[in-house]
Symmetry: D2
Subunit: 334 residues, 4 copies
Amino acid sequence: MIVILKHGVNQDMRQPLVDWLEAQKLKVHVSEGEFQTVLGLVGDTRQLDMDLVGSLDIVDSVKQVTDPFKCCNRKFHPADTVVEVGDVKIGGGHFAMIAGPCSVESEEQIVTVAKAVKASGAQLLRGGAFKPRTSPYDFQGLQATGLELLKIARQETGLPIVTEIMSIEHLDLFADVDVIQVGARNMQNFDLLRHLGQLRKPILLKRGLANTLKELLMSAEYIMAGGNEQVILCERGIRTFGDYTRNTLDLAAVPMLHQLTHLPVIVDPSHATGRAHLVEPMAMAAAACGADGLIIEVHNDPLHALCDGAQSLRPEQYDVLAEKVRRIREVSAL
Amino acid sequence: MIVILKHGVNQDMRQPLVDWLEAQKLKVHVSEGEFQTVLGLVGDTRQLDMDLVGSLDIVDSVKQVTDPFKCCNRKFHPADTVVEVGDVKIGGGHFAMIAGPCSVESEEQIVTVAKAVKASGAQLLRGGAFKPRTSPYDFQGLQATGLELLKIARQETGLPIVTEIMSIEHLDLFADVDVIQVGARNMQNFDLLRHLGQLRKPILLKRGLANTLKELLMSAEYIMAGGNEQVILCERGIRTFGDYTRNTLDLAAVPMLHQLTHLPVIVDPSHATGRAHLVEPMAMAAAACGADGLIIEVHNDPLHALCDGAQSLRPEQYDVLAEKVRRIREVSAL
Amino acid sequence: MIVILKHGVNQDMRQPLVDWLEAQKLKVHVSEGEFQTVLGLVGDTRQLDMDLVGSLDIVDSVKQVTDPFKCCNRKFHPADTVVEVGDVKIGGGHFAMIAGPCSVESEEQIVTVAKAVKASGAQLLRGGAFKPRTSPYDFQGLQATGLELLKIARQETGLPIVTEIMSIEHLDLFADVDVIQVGARNMQNFDLLRHLGQLRKPILLKRGLANTLKELLMSAEYIMAGGNEQVILCERGIRTFGDYTRNTLDLAAVPMLHQLTHLPVIVDPSHATGRAHLVEPMAMAAAACGADGLIIEVHNDPLHALCDGAQSLRPEQYDVLAEKVRRIREVSAL
Amino acid sequence: MIVILKHGVNQDMRQPLVDWLEAQKLKVHVSEGEFQTVLGLVGDTRQLDMDLVGSLDIVDSVKQVTDPFKCCNRKFHPADTVVEVGDVKIGGGHFAMIAGPCSVESEEQIVTVAKAVKASGAQLLRGGAFKPRTSPYDFQGLQATGLELLKIARQETGLPIVTEIMSIEHLDLFADVDVIQVGARNMQNFDLLRHLGQLRKPILLKRGLANTLKELLMSAEYIMAGGNEQVILCERGIRTFGDYTRNTLDLAAVPMLHQLTHLPVIVDPSHATGRAHLVEPMAMAAAACGADGLIIEVHNDPLHALCDGAQSLRPEQYDVLAEKVRRIREVSAL
């Protein structure tokens, strides 16, 4: 860690800080420049409160020179992690197509959609049983029943299932779920992450609405520090001033994350844009820039069927998309 | 709810949607304009998925005309809610000064700070026992021991205590805490909110880093829908492109929230700015625009003592601030 | 235009507004709902100050139902605009590769880079002569001399030139420039846009750092309203809380703009990311989601040559990128 | 300037960069840490392209240790600048009340409002003659006629006038204007700023919608570097995800700017919030946190008169606000 002192801070002014740092068992290298002095700290700086030191009157800024993430850091683990879900592989050149309805509504619905997306090449089935809703008065999902319906669809199609958890109270209910999803609003629910770190099954971790890539990686670290190394990261749009799409899909996060971490990175173009006609072009863009998979909403309910145009695609639209993504993948993977 | 159809959508194109809406037991008033048609929906539209309807190809946009928040809505409860914590009142003209260290570190520390802030006029003691940290490797707080130390400080000074909860697993531990704080990262941890709604004690709900005022009110609604009406809202800065302060304090939220809700609204200038020299001016600004209280970090630890300048104030700085805020309050409350 | 009145506003309360609107020569259709009343305005509402009406105490919100942009609106001009620069076509299925150094530095530099990018398939040469710099003390570009050097490079290679204008004082100097670029900081320099509308040559209009798509289209409208219909739009990243890249590339803007307007839309992955290793994946993503071209920085200066890694690519890196983009285009254009 | 190299960069890898830096006539101090190496650069680093160096593969980050702003930097000019407009002083303890209509509409309107705000204690009259409008089809202001009407109001009341310039073509027209305003959209119109630097009259410089404080100061520097030192800074709200107010008023910018610069800082609560009922509380908050003045919209037109509630205040509302601000000032200036 490097502490850059303010212009004009002399030895007398900095000595109390140097003494305090040395009392924390750190070696302090003082490097005096013409305009400023820099303190280089050697030793275990993880317990140091960077914000506290950085906010001192004599300090200009503090710079961490080693990454705070360890388990997910590519520097210490250069090879891509390949997450395995049954026969399906994600990462390290393996591209995963995950698809299904926003919410599980009935056995007929989930089985029909599961069969359709499987026919288009999807390898995993998604579907919400517990739904995070801004309003307590809105439909909260079929909950335990929804999980059972997902399992029926899995039995009918052989597709492993991906679904979101919202509380540590439900951990037992999720014992037989193949991939547990952590939603954007829970990305920094550290208590939930810690519990998921005790499991030995894949976790799909979505980036929060206003979280940096470093914060996303630190949340993955909460899971991995517990011994569960099967984490899939998911970019699903961030909150900006933009008003044409629900969120702003930050696709540059895909190659950037690939540089920083060995974990697979997938993209959710459905939630990122909130508009059906943008899902296909953004899915193609995600495949072109190196994403390891796509999670996409596909429906078959009557309102969509009659009017078209929602965030979810109809099965036949998904079929076209899947084919286009395959072609992009063939070219971009060269 | 109003559904505005796109320019050029004729009766044939809209009929399937009208039929579908009527099947949802809604009355649909069609109002044709020269350039567009508007559907006015009458009935219980709460179960309707606005996003779904809004994303249809023939729909320009959907507009909710009644607020989605009920319990906290000022329209249905014009009088200010006054939250009572022992003898202390917050809201409805009662201004609360809450102060204390970021983390509880030792009995000596918390008792010393508690006595100091009480002498300056603080009415509640804050202090973190469970700390939400971005990194799993950072200090996570003294946890249960920290809660015990807070209770000792309460006994010594008579100040009720405010401290943050991070998991429903800890609800029992918080049984004797006076005000339970929900941090910014948990503002949309709906499961936690629901459990807090079952309690009958004041909840201090902090606005999330990237949450709108409506989302904050809907989170309050999760608590109140469970029967717990003692909710205190807290503006603590939002995440923007700004880089001089840790967050951007959105003070206009204070009078705006006062218009929308009857709940008390307090301000946290310490976390919002992350810089000690900005805490006093922002505390004065918050008092001037009608906040119902201030939650401020005050410390007495050696690093601060020797160097000064952190986000936390020294007790003597807090004493000056408290006096200035009192004077602003006398003038602004006229 | 639709004016949605607040819940509880009765006829007496709304009559003064209705009278005032009718005095503005508008027909007012009143549609009373169970919970709210909507006023539909028919007539020329362009002169109406939406913000003013929307801010009235009795008004909930105001909704424009016709787009404020006319000349660039796809509704009134369904066919793609194809901008022609000499033999080069942009839009309507024609994909343009624009490349060159950030700043023009010397004849040798600009001619060398121009030859290299031409060999890789670039059709237009970019290079900054007048540089917008945050600091008045920083290098402001070679200015008029830079323009002359660009013309020499054009003569040597046949590539038309694209360069940025910063002042109406320089319009004469730009008479012989093939495509005039308006930078992000000048996107709402309405005076400059108006002058460019008097020309009859292509304008490359970059989206501002914090501007919505509608604002971008309205700025195009300033140019087109003057009779100059050859406008190329450019997405180059927006300002968000993100900190890993210089800006956040908003690629969903590409298909969204294609729906809204008939103008060509290109992407600048160099400025959007500020990191060389992200330029290639983002260029491929842009091609995959339907962009009509790419403007990319390519250099040959010593610092880059020795160290590599800057925002600009080396010619041999650009050559690889160009080939990959061609393959993506072949697939995505199917 | 400090260049922090990446972990693992050894001497061989860094030598080309060190050589190149020395060729730029800089002295390079190498400080090797256990985990990283830091290069301290001594000499004139202003011509160095920080972004370029920072983007090299071997570089972690670059840190400027001296501020890039000179003329407006408080370090080199500790005393507050007091801008004088006739008898009116702004800054250094002098608080300026600036008020008037959004647009100049007629002689009667501007004279009436001028007299009203003068009676309430306003010292300067504002009014738009040239209006920056997002749409080319919207009312663009009375332009030259508007300037003449402002001068009539000045003659009638003695109030100096403040009005916005949009083009260097109009500089002659503004020769007799007392304070020239640069709007948020032109904050980085460097050409305009440079021309204003040649004048010797006060410039009111508004912060751009998405500009940092450093960028605001660098724009002031463009004016001051030309010799015009009479610059007034203005916080008027920034663009965020927030949707209840037009912009997010960043009040912490006021004390932060006071620390960084000696220039006066005023606040525009009308444009920042876009809602009349928020103007008074935000004006009081601005006064409480140390602003040097307020620029506020006051109207007397019929729509406002009949309905109330717009961004602009009625004269009688402004009178109440002015009195409250005076009381806050008395307390906060203690």
